[in-house]
């Protein structure tokens, strides 16, 4: 798969990865977490960064949950504890 360039989404994407390092989270949780780590980020920017991270297979999106939960690709609860 070709890598998708992160562009202006690189920084929020980095903070999303940091936030997801603590465990799976929904978009609303991530918005608050990224806000705490790096200041306010717009909802559309957050979704754009999530879409790119998914596309680059760095995170996964669970459709079994409502709202959908995001987790690091190959995330295992044991490794993060």
């Amino acid at each position: 798969m070709s890598a998708t360039r992160m562009g202006r989404f690189a920084e929020p994407a980095l903070w999303i990865l940091v936030a997801l390092g603590r465990g799976p989270a929904a978009a609303t949780t991530l918005l608050a977490a990224v806000g705490r780590l790096d200041g306010q980020v717009g909802p559309a920017t957050l979704i754009g960064a999530l879409a790119r991270l998914e596309r680059n297979e760095l995170i996964e999106r669970s459709t079994a949950d409502r709202p959908p939960m995001y987790r690091l690709a190959n995330y295992s609860p044991e490794a993060s504890s």
């Binding site: 798969m1 070709s2 998708t4 929904a26 978009a27 609303t28 918005l31 608050a32 717009g42 909802p43 559309a44 920017t45 957050l46 979704i47 754009g48 879409a51 790119r52 998914e54 596309r55 297979e57 995170i59 996964e60 999106r61 669970s62 459709t63 079994a64 709202p67 959908p68 987790r71 690709a73």
Partner: protein, 249 residues
């Protein structure tokens, strides 16, 4: 707010609308937040491949075919111009080809930009713009000074545009060299040298000399035809076997 969400493409809304509404409910957007939504919509339209697998390939394919159409149209108009020039020259009259000439350059520029891989289009575009500005400057200069910038720029613009477009056809290197060499490298220097009186054994009638430039139009028709038939797909973004990763459970 729904109107702003309506700006997003359908596949994007199908995937993210509920989440976006949750985010907006959790934190009602300020003016900056609304601008963020508009910018996000623009981004979603510009990057459909984030949601729909293969969208980038389809867009690249459309670009190449549009480039092919522009190349064919430019080549055909060039041939019509040269033919008219030869016919008119035989009657001793003069026809102003300024508008037609600019349309030809515009069509060939569209072809070159359309056939350029997306990552390099900006650099090629800036180069073409600079050449166009210099060319325009050459046109408005006093007549005595015209040959200085116009002739080299004619070579750069017409040769560059054909070369850039031909490079993306997917033809073999040999075929590319043949198209650019026969279509541009041979006739243009010969005609310019003859018009400058450097080749006295060639007829100096402009109409006859300009008929040598027919092959340039034919070269564009060939390049455009190859692009239209799908020969330019070599540079298209590699297809992704899957869309965004989703975990079902």
């Amino acid at each position: 707010m729904s109107r702003l969400i309506g700006l997003y493409p359908g596949p994007w809304r199908a995937r993210y609308e509920a989440e976006l509404r949750d985010l907006l409910a959790a934190r009602p957007p300020s003016l900056v937040g609304r601008l963020d939504l508009v910018a996000g919509a623009l981004d979603a339209w510009l990057h459909p491949e984030l949601i729909v697998p293969g969208a980038a390939d389809r867009r690249a394919s459309t670009r190449v075919r549009l480039a092919g159409l522009a190349a064919v149209a430019g080549g055909a108009l060039w041939l019509a111009m040269m033919t008219t020039q030869v016919v008119v020259a035989s009657t001793g009259r003069d026809v102003d080809f300024t508008v037609a000439g600019w349309v030809v350059v515009l069509l060939m520029t569209v072809a070159a930009l359309g056939a350029t891989p997306p990552g390099r289009a900006r650099g090629v575009g800036v180069g073409i713009l600079l050449a166009g500005l210099l060319f325009g400057l050459g046109v408005v200069l006093p007549w005595d000074l015209k040959p200085l910038p116009v002739v080299p720029l004619l070579l750069v613009v017409f040769g560059g545009l054909l070369t850039i477009t031909t490079l993306r056809t997917g033809l073999s290197r040999g075929a590319q060299r043949a198209v650019v060499g026969v279509g541009f490298g041979l006739p243009f220097p010969v005609v310019i040298a003859a018009l400058a009186g450097l080749l006295p054994y060639l007829p100096s009638t402009p109409g006859v000399l300009l008929s040598l430039l027919w092959v340039y139009g034919v070269a564009w028709l060939i390049v455009g035809g190859v692009l239209l038939l799908g020969g330019g797909h070599r540079w298209a973004t590699p297809a992704s076997p899957t869309g965004p990763t989703e975990v079902a459970a």
